[in-house]
């Protein structure tokens, strides 16, 4: 691999198992998941629906407790890390509060964390610039397009400078063109902030384009079938998607997905 020196590990999962008990039997959502994520990495999770991608992110964020195994985040438990406000979580839907302006929405976590007014204003302005939403501060969510709302929700996750960014299909509901733009933007953001990012997607090109590491998963029970360290450089123009390296990684991801399926 090209990026040989393995950076300091931020998230480390060992033998993580999670079984949901529901009325009609139990669902084995994760089985013996082992994964190390280094500081500043961009890790994509890809796999068919129901393979446990969301569940894994939720386990990392302490929104779900594994039935077996351990996850450590900077040497802490996920819940300790949550209390230390280590996570910026972006959900599939923007989830902006409709009664707050865009600026108010982005300021909300800052308010909760006790930043003073001047600091809130400064940070809101800064992250809105970062996601190219300057000037929309006083607008309400319904006055923005879906893509702009999603950018606002990313800005909200960035505002309090969490160390780890968790993104669950943030662009799933957007069309290809908007998605390309946001992907470029996200990559730029990531380069600028250097945040460790966990990103769930269904799109192979998106995963390959964005990631330093691609985690391929397969369902029933949800498990990791392949982990690919990307040899692509960190500087990535959109055209890189036509390069042979890109196509080769995409091919390997597709093979991994197919293999996961064939086992059934």
């Amino acid at each position: 691999m090209m990026n040989a020196p393995i950076p300091q590990t931020v998230i480390s999962a060992r033998g993580v198992d999670l079984t949901f008990d529901t009325n009609d039997g139990s669902v084995h959502a994760l089985r013996s998941v082992d994964l190390d994520i280094g500081k500043g990495e961009f890790v994509s999770f890809i796999g068919p629906s129901g393979c446990g991608k969301t569940t894994f992110l939720r386990v990392v964020a302490a929104l779900e407790t594994p039935t077996a195994g351990t996850v450590s985040v900077n040497g802490m438990t996920p819940d300790e890390a949550r209390r230390a406000r280590a996570y910026g979580y972006v959900f599939q839907a923007a989830g902006l509060y409709p009664w707050r302006t865009i600026g108010g929405n982005i300021a909300l976590p800052l308010e909760i964390m006790g930043f003073d007014r001047a600091e809130r204003t400064r940070r809101v302005r800064e992250v809105m610039q970062l996601v190219e939403l300057s000037g929309f501060e006083k607008k309400y969510p319904w006055q923005l397009s879906g893509g702009m709302q999603q950018r606002a929700s990313i800005a909200r996750a960035l505002a309090f400078d969490a160390e780890i960014l968790l993104m669950d299909e943030p662009f799933g509901a957007l069309d290809e063109i908007v998605r390309d733009r946001l992907n470029e933007e996200l990559l730029r953001l990531w380069a600028a902030t250097g945040k460790t990012t966990l990103f769930v997607t269904h799109s192979i090109p998106e995963a390959v384009y964005l990631s330093t590491k691609i985690v391929v998963m397969s369902p029933r029970p949800g498990r990791i079938t392949d982990v690919i360290d990307s040899p692509l450089p960190r500087e990535r123009p959109l055209e890189i998607r036509d390069s042979p390296e890109f196509i080769e990684i995409a091919h390997r991801v597709r093979e991994g997905l197919r293999a996961g399926h064939a086992e059934h």
Binding site: R82, R83, R85, Y89, F91, Y97, W99, R100, T101, I112
Partner: protein, 315 residues
Amino acid sequence: MSRYGPLLLLVAALFALWYAAAVPMNIREALSAAERNGVVVEPATAIERRDANALGLVAANLAQIPAAWAQDRPRLPAPHQIVGELWQSVVMEEIEGQRGLLKSGSLSNRGLLLHVWITLSATALGFVIGTVAGVLLAVGIVHSRTMERSVMPWAIVSQTVPIVALAPMIVVVLYSVGLQGLLPKAIISAYLSFFPVVVGMVKGLRAPDAMQTDLMRTWDASGWQVLTRLRLPASMPYLFASLKIAVAAALVGAIVGELPVQGGGLGARMLAGSYYGQTAQIWAALLLAAALAAGLVAAIGGAQRLALRRMGGAA
């Protein structure tokens, strides 16, 4: 015009029906009065008329129909009589009455405005108490399993007891501990109005979806922050829907609370009217109470629009 057309038609039909109904209702009194004045009516004596069919009496004495709309103490006053009574007791009483606004500087207790004011104060106080209690109970219920199990069944039972039976007891009990006047009525109002607020607010406080509460969790928000920054704002549409029901219930409570005490108010006016056979007075008080209810609900609606506009207009 086309918007109000059907409404006007409906109102006109109601008035026609009312006038029509007033004739057989009042024909006996009209015939008795005419007989006293020496007019020949058919049949001629009250004893003969007692067992006769009212519609038959109308048919036999068509000339007395206008008199049926002009009785002093009609069983069913005609609309213009009620309007006359309203004019008299709302406007003329204050202008011409010895103790009216113009001559004494304060509202006459023979007019209706003072009684509207008395009822309105009890309603307002009861509504505020009921709303505050309802919101507090809902917050408790949403935050504590124990409270949900213990409070909710009692809240429901409390509303199955007929208020007409309960109101005099509340008044008597409170009187015995030295409370009288506004407060007992307000408490009856509150008793009726807290319930819709509890039900609506429990639903409203639980309205935020899992994603919104999960976000709060990732930010490590305290219970208080989740309540004030997420649950309460999310519950606003539910709150206002409940408040509209609650304010109407509060008015009913105040009126019922005025029945056992002769301290004035629209309820007392209705009761007095029925003691003295002043049906027009009952109806006038009734209409004012209805108008008051409509006004209160409209005021809540206005507050709702204001609040929701301040909250982004699309909430």
